[in-house]
Symmetry: C2
Subunit: 389 residues, 2 copies
Amino acid sequence: MRRVAIIGVGMTEFGELWDLSFRDMGIRAGFEALNDANVTSDQIDALYVGNMSAGRFIEQEHVSALIADYAGFAKNHIPSTRVEAGGASGALAIREAFLAIASGIHDIVVVGGAEKMTDISDIEVNAIQSSAADQEWETIFGATYPSLFALMASRHMHEYGTTREMLSAVAAKNHKHGSLNPKAQFRREIKPEDVSKSPMVSSPLRMLDCAPISDGAAAVVMCPLEMAKRFTDRPVEILTTAMASDTLALGQRKSITEMMATKIAAKKAYERTGLKPSDIDVAEVHDNFTITEIMAIEDLGFAPKGEGGRFTLEGKTTLGGEIPVNTSGGLKARGDPIGATGVAQVIEIVQQLRGEAGKRQVPDARIGLTQNVGGTGSTVIVHILGVPE
Amino acid sequence: MRRVAIIGVGMTEFGELWDLSFRDMGIRAGFEALNDANVTSDQIDALYVGNMSAGRFIEQEHVSALIADYAGFAKNHIPSTRVEAGGASGALAIREAFLAIASGIHDIVVVGGAEKMTDISDIEVNAIQSSAADQEWETIFGATYPSLFALMASRHMHEYGTTREMLSAVAAKNHKHGSLNPKAQFRREIKPEDVSKSPMVSSPLRMLDCAPISDGAAAVVMCPLEMAKRFTDRPVEILTTAMASDTLALGQRKSITEMMATKIAAKKAYERTGLKPSDIDVAEVHDNFTITEIMAIEDLGFAPKGEGGRFTLEGKTTLGGEIPVNTSGGLKARGDPIGATGVAQVIEIVQQLRGEAGKRQVPDARIGLTQNVGGTGSTVIVHILGVPE
């Protein structure tokens, strides 16, 4: 197996991008990544696209061919593959590209993640987001994506004493980080009290506990590490990719205050790299709701089980803290264009490891981790990245 | 790179399966494949799912997690990946599983392809099928999937003298083959005159030039060839997988009487295996419309360019002919549940190479080929399978 590096990154701003179509966004992110990598479209061997639901958001399936075409790769007829795993679609695209390069099948691969969500009504968006949960055993009975995560939050509060204040601390911290990220959807700080007073969505989750609806695209260029030096003097290595699944319906699981798929994927990732949670300098985790980040930092081993809320409240996951989490602003403030999210997480880690994260730079960051969730934890993908020796 | 074998196959009947849900079909095909392979669900390392548009057909995305869960794999939390490339989604799932096994990442992998199409109106189905074409440059102007293939048919007739009689010969031949396949959607013969007199859909394509709308699922179990002997004494090897892309919109191509992606994928597949078209004993090609099969047998090199219609009319692609094509009945008669189709094509070849194809057996078949098309040829995947030495 060959070692794999990221040699270029690019992304649109995330937000309500009414002047950009799905294909406009894909082109913009892709060209930025190609320029950053100093490669031309003629050098690309394959494309992987992460996208959750273009079929419903913009009534266009087959977006792998669309992006290959509009990015200028169709003239070389390269293979282009779309993957989907709900909210984990972006990380899945990076994973499949990693496997293709590590195994020697392809050399230079572009990964694009994109979602165009704001051209339809919020009610339709909610239905589409919820289609990553179980239609026959959850959604049909009225469960929505927020209400399922609200169940997890309630139970976490009951079992571990997690408080409203702790949930609010997650959102406030991520907005603070987002205010330092020029590509974030929300670049203003909010106070914990703002979160606690925001309108109720599904008790106990309030509006500011929820990530926004977003448009956006993100792209990376990957190649074998041994080839990376031809293009850049600051490659970032993907040390491992680990993926695990769980039941589609939340009610089928033994516990709803943890994501077993996160624990299993993290265990595999740590074992393969010989790293432990305390070796991670910076992490991007899935915070589609505030409770999701609290569970993530517990399941990844950054905080003891049940202590994620307190850990956050104590500032340990803030920039300057013990393990800065979601320095990009996370899904909460950077935005969550579903298929792009897992790619954007990796881009943030690349920028941190290159030392190019500007005002949100974690000093001397050498090892970073991403965790991307599909559904209510039915798919989880963990990547660990590092500065190569 | 390790050699890769198929050790088990299973599929539902294709048709209007009103008593089976999407997950019912997935379970049925999957268990049949596991039984056929003599493996248990505990031995499976990963799952790949080919599906085009469950998000729109049944409002369920994230079907990778759904199938992993309902097939009993969730307890082991194995990675499960959905891939999509319009009509080529099934072949794409087999391709990604092939790459994962060949590279040593996974050992025993299940591939499932499924689509549940008949629970909604035909008008909606047409819109969804057409979403594999270009929404912004084709569909928005009124083009549908049949009308785009009708353009190819018209031009092929104009350039090469392909006739109504030749198109009808494709459909009649595939129905004849389908009449011998107990899992085919249509198991009755039709006469060429029936096709020529059937109602017009989009000139020159008539109703019996078109593949039907279908429900169905198909599954295969794959592993390294070196491991296959543990499970079966008649493994079938996947000799190569080749994939190529083209522009999303038909109008952007230099020629619409050939699929460049087929030609390029076939060229790669022949080069890598050292085989030539005349070495192929049996082939399953994409005949969503009769014209598609005519172009396929030309682009794959079975018939000279422009001669595909005449070649068919002369019986050369019928059972007993020079190169039997679509012995399963093809999309036309076996049925076309989109995500399942590319997997079902491979299953037909496996059964032929095992000598288990019953009344439709091609004597002494040793090498078989599949060709699966997404959109109007924007994605094409070619597999070549063989009886291992």
